[in-house]
Subunit: 353 residues, 2 copies
């Protein structure tokens, strides 16, 4: 057997199975609430972060992106793909993993699956934003688009915002059936609807989360009354939007990071200088959120690197002292750092297969 690598050479790794264990161990609603709090705390110190639009590699069928950020002490990035055509081939549209590293040494300190974690952080971010923007006393949410993200959204709004009823709609009735089945026993009242119009009846919050990579109109202007909060998460790349432009013109629009949202979000339909409010400024108390009961607020969410950073930091804290991670021998760490070759050479006998 080879000599054991030094402690520094090991990077804690959270597999998909261990992420599921961890979330079941803590309880999904508590995880969503904790994540919302962690993301909110990081949004409050937004100016501290090193921010850059994601680095995208586009092909005809999808995109692969790297989303890095740093708060000066910890560096994090996420790898994520987006391939709408994957679904038809039995693959995930989105898969992801992420890493945290120590800014002072550059050494990685966490590697984690992020397919599940992205679903959790996206839902937690939505609910955290709604906590600041939705009408007081909101109890009913319309959930339009009942794909892989939908149940996480419903549970986050229950846990974080006190939603007790969800109204589901998808162009594929089987998706609505599946979402309703998965939410049975959650404590939510679940209503299956046959149209977007029906789904938004009586809802104070409308979440849209559909997956077409094309301009779509999930909601038209005449469908949306005053005094609602719209949580638009499906419009998240160039050419992919969900809302009619006229709804945007009637709404007060909140975004994560304008340089990214103007390219990827619903507001790609608007003039490049159309006024938007950065969500972090509302959370920091610099700018007011919802003005009155009649305003339409719109969170045009595309997902930003800081949310992944928050989620990874939460996981790093949550796994401490648990069995929900393994250690990867991912970093060469010779006794004498100048003697990488010596480490390799001395391993010749011990690693002989």
């Amino acid at each position: 057997m080879a000599p054991l690598p030094s402690k520094l050479a090991y990077v804690p790794f959270v597999s998909v199975e261990n992420m599921m264990r961890l979330v079941h161990h803590i309880g999904i609603e508590k995880v969503l609430t904790d994540l919302a709090d962690q993301i909110e705390a990081d949004f409050r110190r937004w100016p501290l972060f090193d921010k850059t639009p994601r680095v995208a590699s586009h092909s005809d069928v999808g995109v692969i992106e790297l989303m890095p950020t740093s708060d000066g002490e910890t560096y994090g990035f996420k790898y994520v793909n987006g391939h709408p055509k994957n679904m038809a081939e039995g693959l995930q549209t989105v898969t992801a993993f992420g890493l945290l590293a120590d800014v002072n040494s550059g050494y990685p300190k966490l590697l984690s699956e992020m397919t599940l974690l992205t679903a959790l952080r996206t839902a937690a971010t939505s609910a955290m934003a709604a906590r600041h923007l939705a009408p007081k006393g909101a109890r009913t949410m319309a959930m339009i688009g009942n794909g892989a993200q939908s149940e996480f959204q419903c549970l986050a709004f229950k846990a974080v915002c006190g939603i007790d009823s969800v109204r589901l709609y998808d162009i594929d009735p089987a998706a609505t059936e599946r979402c309703a089945r998965n939410l049975a026993g959650s404590g939510l009242t679940v209503v299956k609807c046959r149209s977007s119009q029906e789904a938004i009846e009586g809802a104070q919050i409308i979440t849209t989360c559909t997956a077409d990579k094309q301009y779509a109109t999930i909601l038209t202007d005449n469908m949306v009354g005053s005094g609602v909060h719209i949580n638009a998460i499906g419009g998240d790349c160039p050419g992919k939007t969900e809302l009619h432009r006229d709804i945007l013109l009637r709404s007060r629009i909140f975004v994560e990071y304008p340089p990214q949202t103007r390219i990827e979000g619903e507001i790609q339909q608007l003039d490049p200088d159309h006024a938007v409010t950065e969500l972090w400024q509302v959370i920091a108390g610099d700018v007011a959120g919802r003005a009155d009961d009649r305003q339409i607020t719109l969170f045009d969410s595309v997902g930003f690197a800081i949310e992944d950073f928050s989620a990874l930091r939460y996981v790093a804290q949550a796994i401490a002292g648990t069995p929900f991670f393994t250690r990867l021998d991912m970093i060469a760490d010779p006794d004498d750092p100048r003697d990488l070759f010596g480490m390799f050479q001395r391993a010749a006998d011990s690693v002989a297969a």
Copy 2:
């Protein structure tokens, strides 16, 4: 026990230990030769690649970088840090890992340590460039800077270019001693020198690989005669150079990717429009390399994403059918891709700790 993830959910992972096993199994000189050939083949199809300068996150003490590229079929990126002060703290200056993914699905297909692999690919790239640029019949190399990269450089020039003698110099004599000791038995004639001047006596190839993060002058103009090839690999970030500007002015300069090298390489000392030749054009046969026996050729190497891509692809091929990798459960892959939540929910019983 949890149900096993599907085959698609597993990502082959090459740990540091398995990388050492793999390289010992194949033989380091063959690995270096194979890598040089693979990198050369990818340089030949250079225009095909999606190229972007690395994405850097700088701090007072170092840098963390992501280096992505794609050939349209395969996507790759490397995570790498550079922290010169790490050495004094007993840590590696550079650590790295990398990933390959399928452009068509976005699914990762290899995760690998790259601290050792970067040392190998850097040496292979240097030797591959020298194969095109060094004077014919070169047998002696000066190796200035005897740190973690030095032995790999010496072996690559032996295996790829037929170098049979190396002349070592470092400001720290212990580093030279260590390098000489590690190369004993390699078949190279090793000469320990007490100055740069002494090291370059009779050498047709001069490799500089020092680590200070500041403008340094390892070689002054009067030291360098005609008819040599200089392989400058230590000047690789803003403010970090090794050669006196006058040497650059006397040399024909070859670079990897000008937009990156002008920021990071020796040529940051020159006017932004100073003529340089892209190495890939020499390899593709579009531009002549060395003109005559008296020319000074300089490969101003900073390391480029395509070299990491080539190295990762080599590893992906090399591990097939070997025991030198494990499989990581890194990608969630539910039976029904729309039912991520259902996968999570059904795992409740089976993953209970």
